[in-house]
């Protein structure tokens, strides 16, 4: 009995120490980015400051400290949105005749920031609207997820813009991530629809998910072939495995009494 109690205490101590280490590390990271920001004598909006915002936001959203009541996520969201302005900045320069190849880094980071902002909202919905008892999303999340799906789709359309044709190969990874996010969102919606017996929505979602799966697999294979990095195959197979896990093919069956179009 005593042994068990002391072991529990020790486990708590180790967990506490781990959390404190991560907290100190996060503080140090944020302080470094703050020093960077303070020492760049640039105008308030500059690509470099947007880049710093992007890194700060990533650090904040990678935090596993849930004691801040979502303040950290909100701060991360705000910074991702600030970094998203890089897309508008690059678009404006492109309209003035600047070559797209010299705007690559701005578009890449800008679209990464836009995507991350959507994922952050997606994560918030999933975290807040999951029933802790059965670990299922409640009906309330359905509408939010639909909106987030639209955000992913808008982003997907933006990434396919003709302005970006020259740098499409640089945006393959963010497009793959967008397709992953969209599929994840659709699968969550399908699970709610099945749970709530929303037949019409379920039928439509099954069709869309089927397309989304095919689109994702096709894109991931293409991105893998286009990449020169040896780790790309690992990424491709991990994405496919996760896809099967969250949205297995058998889940896509049409509701009883209906056929796929």
């Amino acid at each position: 009995m005593e042994n068990s109690s002391s072991e529990t205490t020790r486990v708590r101590e180790v967990e506490g120490e781990f959390i404190q280490r991560r907290q100190e590390l996060l503080n140090t990271i944020l302080r470094n980015f703050e020093v960077t920001r303070l020492n760049l004598h640039y105008p308030q909006f500059s690509p470099e400051l947007s880049l710093i915002s992007f890194y700060e936001a990533t650090a904040l959203s990678g935090s596993d400290d849930h004691t801040t009541d979502g303040k950290r996520e909100l701060e991360a969201l705000r910074r991702f949105e600030a970094a998203s302005k890089l897309v508008e900045f690059a678009d404006a320069l492109y309209a003035q005749g600047v070559e797209s190849s010299s705007l690559r880094e701005y578009w890449i980071v800008g679209f990464h920031a836009r995507y991350n902002a959507v994922v952050l909202r997606h994560r918030q919905v999933v975290a807040r609207k999951t029933d802790l008892q059965n670990e299922r999303l409640n009906l309330d999340a359905y509408k939010d997820l639909r909106e987030i799906t639209n955000n992913y789709e808008t982003l997907d359309a933006q990434l396919s813009s003709s302005n970006l044709a020259e740098i499409a190969s640089d945006l393959l990874s963010v497009k793959a991530a967008v397709l992953c996010g969209r599929l994840s969102c659709l699968c969550s919606q399908l699970a709610i629809a099945q749970e709530q017996q929303m037949r019409n929505e379920e039928t439509e979602l099954v069709r869309v998910i089927d397309e989304a799966r095919q689109s994702l697999v096709k894109h991931v294979d293409f991105a893998d072939q286009a990449s020169t990095d040896s780790g790309s195959k690992l990424h491709a197979s991990a994405i496919k495995a996760s896809m099967e896990h969250i949205c297995p093919a058998k889940m896509n069956r049409p509701p009883e009494g209906q056929t796929r179009s």
């Binding site: 990271i29 880049l51 994560r123 990874s173 699968c187 893998d224």
Partner: protein, 362 residues
Amino acid sequence: MEDSSGELPDLTAPSHHCIDMAEDGEDEVNHENLKSLVGSLELYLHNGDLDRAKVLHEELRKRYADLPAYSLSARKYATEELANSSSRNWSTGWAWVRSRAWLLLTQIFLALGGILWLYLLLKMYRGVRNFLRRGRYSRKNKIRWFVQSIKDEARQAGAGAVMDALSIEGNALLRNLFSPPALLLVPPGFGGPQGGGVWWDLFGDPRPPFEIESLPRDQIERHEFVLDEALEEIKVKIAGQEVSGIVGLAKNVSRWFNQGTPTVQGAILKVSPKSAHPSWAVRLTASSGRRWLTWSAGPRRNLTASVYSSTEEQEFIDAIGLAAQRAAFKLFYRLAEPNKDPDEITAVAALHQGIVLLRRYL
């Protein structure tokens, strides 16, 4: 020889003449002897040897007394010299000054001459050595900086961390080529059973860097830092007692030999502001004569670059190590691009460290 009258000839006059000549000759010899005596006396007085001068003075007096009456010029000379004796300086102080001062001046002159000769010899040696060394650096396209000292007054053994950070292989901010990270948050369901996470460089290919992300690697890699460790080890003991000042002397000698050569001095400080947590700070100062430095752009010039970094003390964070890494990174960068704005270099250092820690955190 008798004349016809049988009388002897009168030789009085010739004999007188002969005697006169002999007396004159003796007088002349006496005169010369007295001159020699007076010369010696003067010499002893001049050298401050009073005792011998007094003996010779007595000898002069005695010889004067012994002079025959016909030794007129010698007597006259002796009378004059004896009369002059009062005008000579017989004081012991003056004699000491004259004797010792001359000796001292001679010694000083010889010593200064020796030192000057040694100085010129060492300077010549230094010039040749530095010339050869510069030629060696030039051939290798490298500049070697000697770290003369790293003061660690709080005794945190931080000198090792600073030296570690001053090597490209040891500094986490320089060890690997910086690849601009493309960070994508993993959507729910794709991050494994725990969810969350970040994809670093999904599908591998890095994006082009922003200006503050790119480093002048070629220029940075020209610089290497070595600790002047021989001096740290010098400890001389005499009769069981450590002789203080030897290390300082040796360091000063070494500094003279390395004057103008690329050197670095460092310090590790604890900063404890009243209204904030204490921090650990590292300051590094590099200086070099213009002959040693060849920049890719602009004329050669003397260089002094001083960098400073600090990190807040925390329980599980190696604050000295982090501050040392940033300070060393900044020094490398300042040396690689001396005309770059130091604030911007501070920003670049903080950014690179932030990314390295972010990789560890995520």
